[in-house]
């Protein structure tokens, strides 16, 4: 069985947020939902400031608090290490969301159809679109994956359930890399199988200093960070993503 993991090279990351965009396109996530988020951080007092970037996917923890607290077993960990949500089982209690120390879970507050960035039925855009609704929905997101054959891929499926980064399960199962990894222009993100000594992550991590986020909470994350360090205590986020879903 593979043991999937991700490496994030903080020395390379330039904070362009291309991965954030790629994730949204690939997984068709709703308004204000950022399965991948890149912190743009500032530390210290002017003129002694230091800027740093910190990409934050779901950490796919080995000892995942979100899995532990899910009352109905909708959140589960696969043998290959992916932490996924069964969209047909989740009852929307959001316990996983409060239990996760990384803030990576997103609830579908609205009806999916009302929750996209562009409302294609809006009369104002009819002249431009000619009434066409582009086939933007990736059919692979409706598939069933893994030995459990559960609906776990993509976002915005049902109202009132919780979704989060899946490491692009629909791509991994085809032997592809997650969308964020493919798109990163400086290859700051590396994905692969830790069991396989020759996989990109294994070779990348070999012999390098690495750390994981919030290790003190005992979550055993599967995302390893290289270069840089754990964000200090007086960091501020500059240009925070403002994604509050409106009523």
């Amino acid at each position: 069985m593979p043991k999937y993991a991700m490496a994030v090279d903080l020395e390379r990351c330039q904070g362009c947020r291309a991965c954030v965009e790629a994730c949204k396109v690939e997984n068709n996530t709703s308004q204000g939902v950022f399965w991948m988020h890149v912190f743009r951080l500032e530390e210290g007092e002017y003129p002694e400031t230091r800027i740093s970037f910190l990409p934050r996917p779901c950490q796919h923890c080995d000892n995942a608090p979100c899995v532990k607290v899910c009352p109905v077993g909708a959140r589960y960990k696969r043998i290959d290490g992916l932490v996924l949500t069964d969209y047909e089982r989740c009852i929307g209690c959001r316990y996983c969301e409060v239990a996760c120390p990384y803030g990576v879970n997103f609830f579908n507050w609205k009806q999916p159809a009302e929750n996209y960035y562009m409302d294609w039925s809006d009369p104002d855009i009819q002249p431009a679109s000619g009434g066409e609704v582009p086939p933007y929905r990736n059919p692979e997101l409706d598939g069933r994956y893994g030995s459990e054959q559960k609906q776990v891929a993509g976002g915005g499926h049902f109202r009132g359930i919780v979704e989060k980064c899946t490491f692009c399960v629909q791509r991994i199962e085809k032997g592809l890399q997650p969308a964020c990894v493919t798109v990163c222009p400086v290859q700051a993100l590396v994905f692969g199988d830790l069991e396989d000594q020759e996989s990109p992550v294994s070779t990348y991590l070999r012999g390098k200093q690495s750390f994981r986020l919030l290790e003190e909470t005992g979550t055993e994350p599967r995302v390893h960070y290289i270069g840089g360090r754990t964000p200090g205590t007086d960091v501020r986020e500059i240009e925070p993503v403002e994604g509050r879903v409106g009523a």
């Binding site: 204000g32 939902v33 950022f34 988020h37 912190f39 951080l41 910190l54 934050r56 608090p65 532990k68 607290v69 899910c70 009352p71 109905v72 077993g73 909708a74 089982r89 989740c90 009852i91 929307g92 209690c93 959001r94 316990y95 969301e97 409060v98 239990a99 996760c100 120390p101 990384y102 803030g103 990576v104 879970n105 997103f106 609830f107 579908n108 507050w109 609205k110 009806q111 049902f158 109202r159 009132g160 359930i161 919780v162 986020l213 919030l214 909470t217 005992g218 979550t219 964000p231 205590t233 960091v235 501020r236 986020e237 925070p240 993503v241 994604g243 509050r244 879903v245 409106g246 009523a247």
Partner: protein, 432 residues
């Protein structure tokens, strides 16, 4: 026995509809209607109608008012039935007249807690099905607690039923429209010495079974928060004992208030005498003292340790966004403590003052529950997310008001069909 004579009305104003009762029921019904309307909006639009939002980049709280009241109602339920059971276990005969009120309070509060959970779920219908199919004991709250909740709802119903048989038999002696109900409820109870002894045994063992399991259940409620290592302000061993104590405080406080109301409207001044209230007041005093001690421990730990996020959270509590609620809750606790202490020291107990204390502790308990649920989400992020905020939407307040309305409605209805204060002991009727 006068209740036997034809023409005598049923005790405690059962079956008599008074204008005052109608007003209360009308108001409660309006609140319920309001709550249903607010929830229907939420059901059609989704939870976007509430003030809740995601943690992290969305800068919100994902558990809010609803969870606050799940915890609050759960606590009240615990207080009610525990007291009723303790009366049996410790033979506190003086307090017997409020036993039924305690049991009823528990049944109603559990029902309200269950509704509050359902209202909070994104997929309530799935919740009803999936919790029964897949619930996992590893999940402290919605797994275990929902099961425990349904179990305890049943347990307190059984308790209420068995304890009420004698009174039902007494009521069944008077001809009335509800006679069939009393006959059914009494199920042939004749109040013979043998039956009394058997009932005493059965309710003793019921009490033995209920108390420890309820402590476990309420602790589970504390574990919901106390076990979350990734949430500053929640991860604490004091969480479970503090939950149980505060549950007792709010339960006993509400019981005092209810008992005072019942005393007036059901004409039970003699049964619910000052001695009952004095006992309850003393109990409340003890519980408030223990709770304040736990609270002080918690605060001292939080301010003393240097952990940054923990400190930021404490600052938000003490001087920041939540300071208003925090200090108000503390002031209410201290005020009620002063009221109770003064009465205890001067040995002059007064029902109005006790009612004030009961109301104050309940307001404080609600505030404290809110402060447990919300700040850790908006101000307790370990990664450098900006501070979040949460303001409950009007609809959320309306739903909560509806829940309280439903509670009042149920208790008011009960009062018109069954003696809410246990009828006095009487001689064994010869003809039974």
């Amino acid at each position: 026995m006068s209740a036997n004579a034809p023409g005598t009305p049923l005790p405690q104003g059962i079956g008599r509809i008074t204008p005052g009762w109608l007003t209360i029921v009308g108001l409660a019904a309006v609140a319920v209607a309001l709550g249903i309307y607010a929830y229907s909006l939420e059901a059609s639009e989704g939870l976007v109608a509430t003030g809740l939002r995601d943690l992290g980049t969305m800068g919100g709280a994902t558990w809010g008012l609803y969870v606050t009241f799940v915890v609050y109602f759960g606590g009240v339920a615990f207080g009610g039935v525990t007291l009723a059971a303790l009366i049996r276990l410790l033979r506190l005969d003086e307090l017997r007249p409020i036993g039924r009120l305690g049991q009823l309070l528990t049944v109603v509060a559990l029902l309200l807690a269950a509704i509050a959970i359902l209202v909070d779920l994104g997929q309530p219908l799935r919740g009803l099905v999936n919790l029964f199919l897949y619930a996992r004991p590893q999940s402290p709250f919605f797994g275990t607690f929902t099961i425990v909740l349904s179990g305890y709802l049943f347990a307190s119903l059984v308790y209420l039923y068995l304890d009420g048989r004698r009174d039902a038999a007494i009521c069944a002696r008077t001809p009335s429209r509800l006679r069939w109900l009393y006959r059914l409820w009494a199920a042939g109870y004749g109040d013979s010495p043998g039956e009394r002894a058997r009932h005493r045994r059965a309710s003793f063992w019921l009490a033995v079974a209920i108390v420890p399991l309820l402590v476990v259940a309420t602790s589970t409620l504390g574990f919901v928060f106390g076990l979350q290592a990734g949430r500053p302000g929640w991860y604490s061993a004091v969480q479970a004992p503090a939950f149980v104590t505060l549950a007792g405080v709010s339960g006993v406080g509400l019981l005092i208030v209810l008992a005072a109301v019942v005393r007036r409207v059901a004409g039970s001044e003699d049964r619910l005498g000052l001695n009952v209230f004095r006992r309850l007041g003393g109990l409340l005093l003890g519980l408030v003292l223990v709770y304040l001690f736990l609270l002080a421990t918690e605060l001292f730990t939080a301010t003393y340790t240097g952990e940054v996020v923990e400190r930021r959270l404490t600052e938000a509590l003490l001087w920041g966004e939540f300071a208003g609620i925090f200090w108000a809750a503390l002031a209410f606790f201290l005020l009620s403590l002063a009221l109770l202490l003064w009465q205890a020291l001067t040995r002059r107990w007064s029902i109005p003052l006790l009612v004030v204390a009961g109301l104050l502790v309940n307001l404080a308990a609600i505030g404290k529950r809110y402060l447990i649920v919300v700040p850790s989400q908006t101000h307790g992020q370990l990664l450098p997310y900006p501070e979040g905020s949460y303001t409950p939407a009007l609809g959320e307040f309306a739903v909560i008001a509806g829940l309280f309305g439903l509670g009042v409605l149920l208790i008011a209805l009960f009062m018109k069909v069954f003696p809410i204060v246990e009828l006095p002991e009487e001689e064994v009727p010869a003809g039974a």
